[in-house]
Amino acid sequence: MGVNLEAAAEAPKRLVKTREEAFESLFKSEYARVAGIANRVLADPHEAEDVAQEVFINFHRLHSASAQFAPAWLHRAAAHTALNRLRGRRRREKRELAQAPEEASRTVDPQRMLEVNEDRRVVRAALARLAPKPAAVLVLRASGLSYAEVAQALGVGTGQIGTLLRRAEAALRKEVTRGTSI
């Protein structure tokens, strides 16, 4: 009596679609930025996209795409996931280098490429040695996030970002110097 069975049956489907639509919209608006943050850390486009997709999959499993904190969550997760990979990569490289020092020293590339790769390696190694928060502040800011966005992503007050950033920049420079003088 007055009950629209068709509409009632359609409701759950509509709900699913809405959830998926919200996720798609979030993905489209944030994917490039999330991948950019990961790339800033890893300096490797393929691995960066890998991280970005992992971050979105995790987000989709855990949260609603229409949650207000979604972009901040994604930015923070991108920075931390990429930094974790960077640290893992460093450990792996160290291990491989220890196991095959001769092989590593035989690698031959054009001079410039070697230099660029070496610079990137030193900077990434220094970034991996920083504490998680300063490293994340640097990466998020360098990826174009505003002070307010960095603050939201890290769950700190906007007023703290300037100081955190200054300290992180000084720490990075120190670590890079340390890395190149070893």
């Binding site: 709900l15 809405t18 959830r19 919200a22 798609e24 993905f27 489209k28 994917y31 490039a32 991948a35 950019g36 790339n39 800033r40 300096a43 486009p45 960066a48 996209e49 970005a52 997709q53 979105f56 999959i57 989709h60 499993r61 855990l62 949260h63 609603s64 795409a65 229409s66 949650a67 904190f69 901040a72 969550w73 923070r76 997760a77 931390h80 996931t81 974790n84 610079d119 900077v123 220094a126 970034l127 640097l138 990466v139 360098a142 002070y147 769950g155 300037g162 950033l165 200054r166 992180a168 920049e169 000084a170 990075l172 420079r173 890079v176």
Partner: protein, 353 residues
């Protein structure tokens, strides 16, 4: 000031103009900032959002690993609780792995150990190294009153005092009688499971094949604060409980045929277990009486706190800053968690009776 020169007030600007110290500090900071910008510069990343979205859509959906879900929360309404549930399941696995030969493992204190996703996957693989049979299935039930929950759990429901006004007085009770799982190591299954991953199985200690671990969890009682039936369908907002208080009998484990030392060595030699995790576990002072709380480092942070001025507890916060939880043992294992500030959760834990 370096990022936004206009942020200076005129009096600041006047001071800066005359202060050699400030000028020197600014020069140093500006140098650092320029250096950091240069060092972190990367070629512009070109992404194909549409195909990336297709790849993400094709990723398999998460399924409950142990074949049952908590009855209270729908998948969309349990962001941080997924983490907590994972931690509990993992705790059971770790406890299993570190079970003492008699006298049985019966924890009296808690300690956090950091784990990575790779560690979790490796530890989860343990469940494929044998057969799990439930001699008493976990049967969590949502009940109507504290009295019903107490009847199932066999102990009084914990009472929270002085709750902040923002937390609702609407409580949903759930309880579970004790569940008992028996895990039997099977060398052939372990070999087959490891072969699938292309890695080699660390040598099984003698007596490991056929060794049995009996794990008892619960009884447990959970109080969920919040109107869980409120519809959030239209807005898709997360219908998150405001607070969860749980009490459970401490898990106990007994094992046959293998010793603690053998088990620890064996588990830590498994492929995929990181050196960090191995070191953290080896550093535990009293493994026979310490309940290890695995904290997934990518999603949560942890610290040691003192609850009720006496008990050592592990406080876990999720990385987004949305929620916070604390776990401690006072005879039974207690947990208080929710999307609340750390200070609020700790105060509730301190006042719990």
């Amino acid at each position: 000031m370096f990022d936004d020169p206009d942020a200076l007030t005129s009096s600041d600007r006047g001071h800066y103009h005359d202060c050699a110290d400030c000028q020197a500090r600014f020069t140093g900071m500006a140098d650092d900032a320029r250096a950091a910008t240069t060092m972190l510069a990367t070629p512009e990343l070109k992404v194909d959002v549409a195909s990336a979205f297709k790849r993400v859509q094709a990723a398999p959906a998460a399924k409950p690993r142990f074949g049952f879900s908590l009855p209270i929360m729908r998948p969309a309404s349990r962001p941080m609780f997924v983490g907590l549930a994972a931690a509990v399941v993992l705790a059971a696995l770790v406890v299993t792995a570190f079970a003492n030969i008699l006298p049985l493992f019966q924890p009296t204190t808690v300690q956090a150990i950091p784990v990575s996703v790779a560690d979790i996957q490796s530890l989860s693989a343990l469940s494929e190294y044998g057969t799990v049979t439930w001699s008493q299935q976990p049967t969590p039930q949502v009940v109507l009153s504290a009295a019903d929950a107490e009847k199932i759990a066999g102990f009084n429901a914990p009472v929270a005092h002085n709750l902040p006004a923002a937390i609702t007085s609407s409580i949903t009770y759930a309880a579970m009688p004790a569940a008992v799982a028996v895990f039997t190591f099977d060398a052939a299954k372990a070999q087959a499971a490891v072969a699938k991953t292309g890695k080699s199985l660390p040598k099984l200690p003698s007596g490991m094949d056929g060794a049995q671990l009996t794990v008892t969890v619960g009884p447990a009682l959970v109080e969920v604060y919040g109107n869980l039936n409120q519809s959030s369908a239209s807005s898709q907002d997360i219908n998150l409980p405001q607070l969860v208080i749980a009490e459970s009998a401490a898990p106990t484990v007994t094992s046959t045929q293998v010793t603690t030392a053998q088990l620890i060595d064996y588990v830590l030699s498994m492929p995929g277990i990181s050196k960090d995790l191995a070191a953290a576990i080896r550093a535990v002072e009293h493994p026979a009486s310490t309940l290890l709380i695995p904290v997934p480092i990518q999603y949560a942070t942890s610290s040691t706190v003192t609850v009720q001025n006496h008990f050592q507890g592990v406080a876990v916060g999720d990385n987004t800053g949305l929620g916070y939880g604390v776990i401690w043992i006072n005879g039974n294992v207690f947990a208080v968690a929710g999307p609340q500030k750390q200070s609020v959760v700790l105060q509730i834990a301190d006042d719990l009776t």
